[in-house]
Amino acid sequence: MPTPTSYAQFSFLFTATVTIIGWFVVARQTDRREYRKEVREQVKEVRDRAVSVRSSAAAYWLNSDKKLAGANSASLKAELLSLSRQVQALRLSGLDFRSEELMAAARGHATGGDFDKRSRVRSEADEERLADIVGAIEDLILAVDAAFYNKFKPHSSRRWWQFIPLLGTLLIARD
């Protein structure tokens, strides 16, 4: 009866090790995929809220009806408060961007100057202000998107260790 070579004796250890590492890699990839989905959902909520802020800002600054000014002002401040909280939540989820500076800029454009001024009258400057608000909101969204794709790289930049599960599968099939 032929004696097995030392490689044959211990080859199962190699297969088992690769399989166990592969299991960890798959588990990690699954966690990361789920985490990516959650953060993407948060990013979508921030985008939707940013659109609401733009609409509320337009309603406040472009409306000349003084009776609606109080309600529009409260609505805009509430939208900004929600946006700020959602942006903060994105930071806590691990996205790294200049959230405080960009949020302060958006709020500054949306509610600065003669915002909430009792004697405010609608003027041409309000349209320029609205353009500034849209610009500040777009800067915020751009920074959020950039931070997202910086944290979650596209598929083209896969790491070598992500192929370990495939190697484990091939080894099991061979045995």
């Binding site: 002002s73 409260a74 401040k77 509430a78 900004l80 408060l81 700020s84 909280r85 942006v87 903060q88 959230s99 405080e100 500076e101 949020m103 302060a104 709020r107 500054g108 949306a110 509610t111 600065g112 100057g113 003669d114 915002f115 909430d116 001024k117 009792r118 004697s119």
Partner: protein, 100 residues
């Protein structure tokens, strides 16, 4: 000369709004003159609790906090004396921008 604690929602208003006193009862000017300036004169450190309101407009923040610089308070003194408690760090960032 100890520490002062101002809770904006409880001590001032849940709906801070407007820049000048003419704009309403919860304006930045009134908050500055009735809360911030007396606290600066009487206390070494002032902690501001900012959560609990229905949101802040920059016109309110600029008049209340930026107005302190216009009254003659030095920016470095203000930075040392004030501490902020809030879940929204962008508010602190904005206030500090008025002092620099």
């Amino acid at each position: 000369m100890g520490e002062a604690m101002i809770n904006i929602a409880n001590d001032f208003s849940r709906a801070p709004a407007g820049r000048y006193i003419d704009d309403g009862p919860n304006s930045g000017q009134r908050f500055r003159d009735q809360f911030l300036v007396p606290a600066l004169s009487a206390h070494q450190h002032i902690t501001l609790e900012m959560d609990g309101t229905r949101g802040y407009g920059s016109s309110f923040l600029e008049e209340a906090f930026g107005g302190l610089v216009r009254l003659g308070y030095a920016a470095d003194v203000l930075l040392k004396k004030f501490a902020f408690r809030t879940n929204d760090p962008s508010l602190v960032s904005e206030i500090h921008s008025y002092w620099r």
